[in-house]
Symmetry: C2
Amino acid sequence: MSLLLQNVVGELTKLPGIGRRTALRLAMHLLRMEPESVDEMTSAIARFRHEIKHCTRCNNLSDSDICPVCADKERDHATICVVEQVADLLSIENTHQYRGTYHVLGGVISPMQGIAPSDLKIDLLCERIAAGGVKEVILAISTSVEGETTLFYLMSRLRQFEGLKVTTIARGIGFGDELEYVDELTITHAMLNRRELE
Amino acid sequence: MSLLLQNVVGELTKLPGIGRRTALRLAMHLLRMEPESVDEMTSAIARFRHEIKHCTRCNNLSDSDICPVCADKERDHATICVVEQVADLLSIENTHQYRGTYHVLGGVISPMQGIAPSDLKIDLLCERIAAGGVKEVILAISTSVEGETTLFYLMSRLRQFEGLKVTTIARGIGFGDELEYVDELTITHAMLNRRELE
């Protein structure tokens, strides 16, 4: 096999979810693309890796020291939604319903993977709240074992702030989910937290 | 969303089978990689796109004008296996059983997609055979409608070479395939071409 092809396949298979066969298919697609288009792609990748920053306030990915959300004076800076990762932030932003700010932890506490509370941006969150002006912290953490551990740890840290409202996002049956396929824990939770129709 | 992130996601979604969500996951993975590793990947992609050549003899991808298979004197140059694309060649090479050479057509005849015989390396194949020394041409073309069209066209072109043996790869039930799930055409073919046990 051509060394150039072997090389590009080898490099592409380093990416998650891309095996040899997919890498080969991608390489063949690269050949059908204009060389200039390929250059645009590689330079976008290189610039992203070398120039991206983390917002010094909320740890969101950002082109500058303060991310667009934190820099936006129209947003409600008294509300902070705590998420595990940037992808979660983007999912919430896509709803166009939330007008508060965020705080990206950068993961969840996981003794198995060697991730301690000090590896997450929890101190930074506490500093933000200690600076004043924050009324509510919404914890939008996943319901995995690690997520629950992180949730309890966060609650213990946030208890120090008197008058701070700490909430978590609602758990229940998703719109479009079929009851038949929903797990028992979610159904139990949804039944216990049932709401009276008005 | 950060412009750098938006850019890299936009570029990655130009690749086949990569949607917004996958692109975002890949971007997050890039952040976890060492910057040097990312540079190696982008330069492998760029070098592949700019420096890869097509073998002037068989149209295989190659680092130089003649690919390693055509340059190998140990291989049987009297036998040419005709394939649609480089990926097919690599699949056959992976068996380590075939010792002849190849000819990569670069696709199949498809009036729907506007691919005419002249868009494929068929003239180049005929030139190779006309130059002499070729005893057998194995047609390893897919059994799609376009593949069959290409097969008939190739057979009409190859008829001019007297004494040339033209074969196609055997069709039948694959090893490990369960009869229950095999299509009827393949089963019909496999029944008609049954072989007596010795």
